[in-house]
């Protein structure tokens, strides 16, 4: 394993120091592992806090800024943050209008955010939560922890962020966030496993001619293994899974997301196939993102996330945003 790190124990704080140095619009509390907007809470604006294990960059710290998150709490690599971080972030970003927690559906994230919400409420902060669970690869929610939260997190953070920026009250911001999640689905494919710095070896073994279908974002194996195939066929597997779960129609927002080690040219190859698939179904990719947004360290692979748009969601998606990893219109 070769990694550009100083030591296994210091990866997260070292990266946070880098984020602080690179982005003057952010304020980084390296010791407590919290990334804030530099501007502080705006009176009357709902605060948005998200967080989760590190290793998914730019998620979440890269989405802190105008029109998106007020704070992000990075945990250890692939481990959820602790309630102390979340409570401190929550009370710090409360401008009196309450705070929305955006939580990906993983047991650790859910439990820690739940405890943090209860304890923050005891300190007088009104907290609402939205659970992101968009991954169609997890089907049998009766026998699992339920669908994982993956790519739709970016859509929820952007759109809820725009609603909060416009001055909407907490209940309204939470409603919009829930709507985005309900209308979004994701599916991921790995061409290789990732290597966590602590483990020092790939999280699963994948042959040169194999792919994992239906992966999550923690280097865990997917729902099936298959032979490597051309991009068009892999995209079709993913799109069929999305379409089967939530029939695609009208205008959609599409993200072709890289898992950390797939070049942009390959993501565009995939996007061409996504676009052709949608055209076949009479669906329009009205808005799109192509790039690394929710990664899994050095995993090769991609995920596709689709959200069914309406006028309200388009307006909020198009609203200005200014964060390290997403910016337009300002």
């Amino acid at each position: 394993m070769k990694k550009l790190i100083n030591g296994v124990e210091s990866v997260v704080p070292d990266a946070l120091r880098g984020i602080a140095a690179a982005h003057p619009g952010l304020r980084v509390d390296v010791e407590n592992q919290i990334v804030f907007r530099d501007s502080g809470p705006r009176p009357g604006k709902v605060g948005l806090v998200s967080g989760g294990g590190s290793g998914h960059e730019p998620l979440h710290a890269g989405f802190v800024g105008y029109g998106m998150l007020d704070a992000a709490c990075p945990g250890e690599i692939f481990t959820s943050p602790v309630p102390d971080q979340m409570i401190e972030a929550t009370t710090a970003v409360d401008g009196g209008a309450g705070v929305l927690h955006i939580v990906k559906n993983y047991t650790g994230d859910v439990l820690n955010f739940q405890l943090a919400a209860e304890l923050s409420a005891e300190e007088g902060v009104e907290v609402a939560s939205v659970l992101v669970d968009d991954d169609v690869a997890v089907r049998d929610s009766l026998h699992t922890a339920g669908r994982r939260g993956t790519g739709a997190t970016v859509f929820v953070e952007k759109i809820a962020g725009a609603a909060a920026e416009s001055g909407a009250p907490l209940a309204e911001v939470a409603r919009v966030a829930g709507t985005v999640n309900a209308r979004s689905r994701s599916f991921g494919v790995a061409l290789s496993a990732c290597t966590t710095p602590a483990a020092g070896r790939p999280t699963f073994a994948l042959g040169d001619t194999e792919v994992e279908l239906g992966i999550g974002i923690h280097g865990e194996p997917g729902r099936a293994r298959s032979a490597m195939r051309p991009a068009a066929e892999l995209v079709r597997v993913a799109m069929d899974a999305l379409h089967e779960d939530l029939p695609l129609s009208g205008d959609v927002l599409v993200m072709v997301n890289g898992m950390g080690a797939t070049p942009l040219i390959e993501l565009y190859v995939a996007f061409a196939e996504v676009s052709a698939y949608l055209a076949e179904k009479g669906v329009t990719a009205a808005r799109s993102l192509v790039g690394d947004y929710v990664t899994s360290l050095d995993m090769q692979g991609f995920s596709i996330t689709v959200c069914l748009l309406d006028d309200e969601l388009v307006r909020l998606w198009d609203a200005p945003v200014e964060t390290p990893a997403l910016r337009w219109g300002r």
């Binding site: 945990g75 250890e76 692939f78 481990t79 959820s80 943050p81 602790v82 309630p83 102390d84 993983y106 047991t107 650790g108 439990l111 820690n112 739940q114 405890l115 997890v138 049998d140 026998h143 699992t144 922890a145 994982r148 966590t196 602590a198 483990a199 999280t203 999550g216 923690h218 280097g219 865990e220 194996p221 729902r223």
Partner: protein, 217 residues
């Protein structure tokens, strides 16, 4: 422990220190178990938590068992993260709350300890929405608490009852090997989770074994 088996604050502090030693010694094994079906950090996370607990108790040892268990629970929640921090933290906090409801008592009877462990188990089940058979720490904790209750009701000596609880926890942990995970990140593996001992059940067995070790002194 004047009257055979009355447990004071020092007894609970000794249990926690023994648990911390066991977790530190079993760290690699717990992490290896987690690597098979989770994300390979259970040993290091729990060790970080118990190290912080021991440090917190050294700074200021609480003066009742209830207060001590509450500090243990709160520290685990604050330091561990993942799913095991909230679950273990809740278990100890609920135990502390159950003992606290007895008043400012400085000594706990075996029956009261058993009731506190039952409260801890109830907290874990509620927070994790887990039942026995889901391949979680509940598969070690529930049979341990049952064995303790049964042994006490049958009139066993408290030390024997603690031994029965520890044995039931270890058997419960081993019994998770053929199970298919239905909770936590392992649940995403479906059939692929079969054949591996659950790391949470394994660490629970360590902590119940530590209870017996201290009770047998």
């Amino acid at each position: 422990m004047a009257t055979g088996f009355e447990m004071d604050t020092a007894f609970f502090a000794a249990w926690i220190e023994e648990s911390a030693r066991s977790v530190a010694a079993g760290k690699e094994r717990l992490t290896d178990l987690d690597a098979a079906i989770g994300d390979a950090d259970h040993g290091s996370n729990l060790d970080r938590g118990f190290t912080a607990v021991v440090r917190a108790l050294a700074v200021k040892e609480p003066d009742t068992p209830a207060a001590l268990l509450t500090v243990v629970g709160t520290t685990l929640i604050r330091k561990v993260g993942g799913a095991s921090g909230p679950l273990y933290g809740t278990a100890f906090r609920e135990m502390g709350r159950a003992l606290g409801d007895l008043g400012d008592t400085a000594e706990v009877s075996p029956g009261e300890l058993c009731a506190a462990l039952e409260a801890g188990l109830a907290g874990v089940r509620r927070l994790g929405s887990a039942a026995e058979g889901d391949k979680t720490m509940v598969d070690a904790l529930a049979p341990a608490v049952r064995a303790l209750r049964r042994a006490l009701e049958e009139g066993s000596e408290p030390r024997e009852a603690a031994a029965a609880a520890a044995a039931a926890a270890r058997e419960g942990a081993e019994a998770t090997i053929p199970m298919r995970a239905r909770r936590g990140r392992a649940s995403y593996l479906g059939e692929r989770s079969v054949g591996h001992e659950d790391p949470g059940a394994a660490s629970t067995a360590l902590i119940l074994t530590a209870l017996h070790t201290v009770a047998a002194r």
